[in-house]
Symmetry: C2
Subunit: 307 residues, 2 copies
């Protein structure tokens, strides 16, 4: 390693072990702040409330919904879990959403994705009161993100990535950031956050159709992988000294485990980590931040309703 020397483009950080961006620990800190805020709101007679709607019996979705409800309980937020059969019609689901829109005990509404295929998810999202859209997927909040209007809700996963960078004091201004993936849930909103006047990064959005993805990624001071392909990002995709944020949470089969699978990110952690200045692990990186930001958004909603 030392033989390679420190070139102009290489920072000495490559010689040190990388800094692990511990999302689990940061989430605990964020949730402590949330707990204090929830208490302050309760002192004003307001209990922040989150409704989570689940249509169908997808086991992974049930796990997510359960952990959201549990976190609410731990922080002193009110939560309501609404479990509907897979046969629920569009009209029935719309009626549930409208009921929650009108319910003063509920400040945040989340319809767990993905719904069964006969449901028009975009129409359901449009039906949510944008002031209760704590997922940040309603067109009104999407537009606020583009327009850099802080009254909107920022989608939880991109917000969690930004929080991880911020709390580690990683400078984004002027940095070359590359986002792999252009989804509405992560890639696009994250690119918009990084390009904003707040973050001032130079942002490249790359994707499955990009030519020479490794070369594009090698330009990145901050590399964010959000594609959902296990261990796609290899060591030679990463500039020495880069900061790597791994949004992917993929199940790959692993006979050595009792469960028969293990979780892995979009980044080949073992080979990439030694090159990085900082990297998020999977699990324990971006994942825990997502739920923490959901709690933060729910409290923002409750505060905005309060006045």
């Amino acid at each position: 390693m030392l033989a390679g020397g420190i070139g102009l483009c290489q920072r000495p950080t490559t010689l040190n072990p990388p800094r692990i961006l511990d999302g689990k620990a940061l989430a605990v800190t964020v949730l402590e702040t949330c707990r204090a805020e929830a208490a302050a709101l309760r002192a004003h007679g307001i209990t922040a409330g989150l409704a989570v709607v689940l249509v169908g019996e997808d086991p992974a979705s049930q796990v997510y919904v359960g952990s959201k409800a549990r976190t609410c309980a731990e922080l002193g937020l009110y939560s309501r879990k609404i479990e509907l059969p897979a046969s629920t019609t569009q009209q029935e689901l719309l009626a549930v959403v409208r009921g929650l829109n009108a319910d003063p005990a509920i400040h945040g509404i989340l319809v767990q994705s993905p719904p069964p295929s006969h449901i028009d998810e975009a129409a359901i999202i449009r039906a949510i009161d944008p002031r209760k859209d704590v997922d940040g997927f309603h067109p009104e909040n999407v537009a606020k993100l583009v327009l850099e209007d802080p009254s909107g809700f920022v989608p939880c996963t991109p917000a969690g990535c930004m929080k991880l960078l911020e709390s580690a004091a990683i400078a984004t201004a002027g940095a070359d950031a590359v986002v792999i993936g252009r989804s509405m849930i992560v890639g696009k909103p994250l690119a918009l956050l990084l390009i904003s006047k707040h973050a001032n990064a130079t942002v490249t959005i790359a994707h499955s159709r990009s030519r020479d993805l490794p070369a594009i990624c090698r330009r990145a001071d901050i590399l964010i992988a959000a594609v959902g392909r296990p261990e796609m990002v290899r060591a030679d995709w990463v500039k020495p000294g880069a900061v790597v944020i791994d949004v992917g949470i993929n199940r790959v089969s692993d006979a050595a485990r009792k469960s028969g699978y293990r979780l892995t990110g979009d980044v080949a952690y073992q080979e990439v980590a030694p090159r990085c200045a900082a990297i998020t692990p999977v699990p324990g990186g971006v994942g825990p931040m997502t739920i923490a930001m959901l709690m933060q958004n729910t409290l923002q909603a409750a505060r905005q309703f309060a006045g």
Copy 2:
């Protein structure tokens, strides 16, 4: 020139004169299609109507508004020019917009930018019926652009840039596109169009705070300058064989001219053009396309209102 040879990264096109992307000619073609469409709508009893609201006496704005009205007249569209004094209040302007929202003769509404400083422009834009927002600046249309929903209106200048690329059969899929500028009017929407599933480019958004802007620009297969700084992009910012789209229209003083000024783009045309595969001139490039796309948007609005 020939002595330089043709390197791996250089296309032989650098040796040939660049292709001039003639926006003036393309606009004529687009406007001919608009004229035919307007006639077809009239045959169904619908005359597409555009209202242009001008607050104050800014001479440049008066020129723009005048040329929009003239183009409408030439194509057989109804147009209404509403000129209000600079002293118009927010409430008065809102009342005008609401009147136009309710007017069945009007399908497109445009409030000429910039309004006087006491006007809250964002609030005026939000007051426009999104179905009549032919500028594409209403949050609902901004969100549709992000969500790739074709029922929305695309801002005219970015739409004109895409049309120029498309009509010249310049492949965007997999290409490295660099957009300099992150405004809501050009940079951001153009980046979103280029990253969409329709165009599939790898997009970098650079700006005034980007580090080593020349190096970032040199990566571009398609380079789009939208910053409003005269001749900022120099020859050594451009990869040989790149396609260059110049969105800037800057007035620079020129004693040799009777008017005392000349128009120039954000690109130093004389030195950049010989390196390019294709380039837009200023004037006569993106400029004429903007008004053509406004007419196209107005017709889209009239069609959508018709059913």
